[in-house]
């Protein structure tokens, strides 16, 4: 996460005014309502805010992180549209030797059963 500078001007890239015809500018800058400021949670990606509160728990869970790596690994094929356990079993059946521990994690329901992208695409 980027550190929020105390100087607002440093945050936005300043553009040079074009020489020649200048249009009359309004006194107020056209506002960006998502104005970052110190301590606000707007700098969080909106995708991580689910059910009204920031989805911080999943993000920091180690097991979920491991499963995310499993989802993204191209060797086991596409992850979208399949349950993680079904994908693990397919990898097992095709002889790809997926990590054994993942089966235990999935069956014990310590992690989400759907892949990371499920519902987000």
């Amino acid at each position: 996460m980027a550190t929020t500078p105390s100087n607002m001007k440093g945050f936005y890239r300043l553009k040079k005014n074009k020489s020649g015809i200048t249009k009359p500018t309004s006194s107020k800058k056209s506002s960006l309502h998502l104005v970052p400021s110190l301590g606000s949670d707007i700098t969080q990606l909106t995708a991580l805010i689910s059910h009204g509160s920031p989805d911080l728990k999943d993000y920091h869970d180690n097991h979920e992180e491991l499963m995310r790596q499993f989802d993204m690994n191209m060797a086991y094929g596409p992850c979208l549209g399949m349950y993680r356990l079904a994908r693990w079993e397919r990898a097992q059946r095709l002889g790809l030797n997926p990590p054994i521990g993942f089966e235990g994690l999935l069956k014990a329901e310590k992690v989400r059963s759907e892949c990371w992208w499920d519902g987000r695409i």
């Binding site: 094929g77 596409p78 979208l80 549209g81 397919r90 095709l94 790809l96």
Partner: protein
């Protein structure tokens, strides 16, 4: 004139054979659609075939290294394995109507979409590469087949193909019991009951012959050697004008189901005497995408009471006395005809066996269920008899594999057009046709010899 002899009561027993259905892999009852895309089935296909090809190429060209497409180095000879994609400019694309460039496109023949400028691309998970050279002819190949290619990358970034390696025929299980007597299997397809081109008398003649109601004792003896009957698709044709999405009027409802009712009556006549398999086809009341699911048993209230009646999937795989049969109702070969060319249907069939895939163009141009865990069209065990229904003409040939496999290829013609049914002898896998016609013949007088 001698007195007519009264025939003594003689029961002719029909021969029997053991039947085992192997359609489990084509069943989608237990599949759940979770929004998956076709990338899953392509991954399963590529991975299964690649593992197989990696083990086979070591014998083909042992000294050439194998690499992935992303690992190609310019000028270095290597072997790559991937899925073929054929770029065809005449292939109908759903985006064409949104294309801003409205160039004058010549009217396309709906039969075949080939063009001299078609080119092939090889693809795996890491990337894709355009294929060049003259060894690989785009007119022979289609999108979806998995092959191994020996060649090298050129400065232009293409892959110059020096040699091609296909998986070849799958291993074949030798049938345990070699029967010493003649037993026959009858194949019919495209009966199209209810269509304007079908002749009900022809079909009735066929049913009567199979059930032994036709001819003298010798002919009945021949009919008694028929142990199995297979209907390879398009058994029924409902008047299409009625099925336009609107509610059916009550007088139309009976018309739609008339054809199936007639089929049921005739099927029950056959099922009463011999085991019969009925497969769905492109015109039958079944789902569109392959693998087509068995026709609902509710359509056959008369036939389903017999345990000899089997409603099967398309494609259909079964074993009869240890002889393995595999066949489709024709959609796979018809699609190959649109996107590639060959001498005849048998050559297309040979290619599908050598690529070890029943329908390589599925799901690209042939409707297919999006399987996630497997590709059910991969041929793991080579059949002894490979049949395809609803073709234009009859054809048959024996195909030999590099490891002694022998397959009888059968192209079954449409019965409504040709009046031909195909008969196969289980003992020696020889084929002949049964021809049914209903033409008026000149009257003969009694004095003729």
């Amino acid at each position: 004139m001698t007195a007519m002899e009264i025939d003594t009561e003689k029961n002719i027993q029909r021969k029997h054979s053991t039947y085992q259905s192997l359609d489990k892999t084509f069943d989608i009852k237990n599949e759940i659609y979770r929004g998956q895309q076709y990338s899953q089935i392509y991954f399963a296909r590529l991975h299964t075939m690649r593992t197989l090809l990696y083990s086979l190429v070591t014998h083909w060209k042992p000294h050439v290294p194998v690499c992935t497409i992303l690992g190609l180095e310019e000028g270095k000879e290597c072997i790559i394995v991937g899925t073929l994609y054929k770029h065809m400019q005449l292939k109908p694309c759903v985006l064409d109507e949104y294309s801003k460039e409205r160039s004058a496109v010549p009217p396309v023949k709906p039969q075949n979409f080939m063009h001299p400028d078609d080119h092939l691309v090889l693809e795996d998970e890491s990337g894709r590469v355009k294929l060049g050279g003259t060894v690989l002819s785009p007119s022979t190949y289609v999108t979806g087949g998995v092959v191994a290619l020996h060649g090298k990358e050129t400065t232009a970034g293409d892959f110059l193909v020096l040699d091609v390696f296909e998986a070849g025929l799958a291993p074949q299980i030798v049938p345990q019991l070699k029967s010493s007597e003649d037993k026959y299997v009858v194949f019919i397809s495209g009966v199209s009951v209810g269509s304007s081109t079908s002749n009900p008398l022809q079909f009735q003649l066929l049913v009567d012959h199979i059930t032994g109601h036709l001819g003298d004792e010798q002919e009945q003896g021949i009919a008694a050697e028929i142990v199995h009957v297979v209907f390879a698709g398009n058994s029924v044709e409902s008047p299409l004008g009625l099925l336009n999405g609107q509610n059916l009027a009550s007088k139309d409802q009976s018309r739609v189901s008339e054809a199936v009712q007639v089929l049921d009556i005739l099927l029950s006549q056959i099922a009463a005497g011999v085991s019969v398999d009925i497969m769905p086809g492109s015109n039958d009341p079944a789902n569109f995408a392959l693998p087509q699911q068995p026709l609902n048993r509710c359509l056959f209230p008369g036939s389903r009471t017999f345990n000899t009646f089997n409603s099967c999937t398309n494609p259909h795989c079964f074993e009869l006395d240890g002889v393995r049969f595999l066949g489709t109702s024709g959609q796979n070969i018809d699609d190959l005809k649109k996107y590639s060319e060959a001498r005849d249907e048998l050559e297309f069939m040979e290619r599908t066996l050598k690529w070890r895939h029943l329908a390589p163009t599925a799901p690209n141009t042939l409707g297919c269920y999006p399987f996630t865990d497997r590709d059910p069209f991969l041929i793991e065990s080579c059949p002894h008899v490979y049949f395809v229904g609803n073709q234009d003409k009859y054809g048959t040939r024996i195909l030999e594999g590099s490891e002694g496999q022998m397959v009888r290829l059968i192209s079954i013609p449409k019965f409504c057009n040709t009046g031909l049914a195909v008969v196969l002898n289980l003992r020696n896998l020889e084929c002949h046709t049964l021809s049914f016609g209903a033409q008026p013949s000149t009257l003969k007088t009694f004095n003729d010899a």
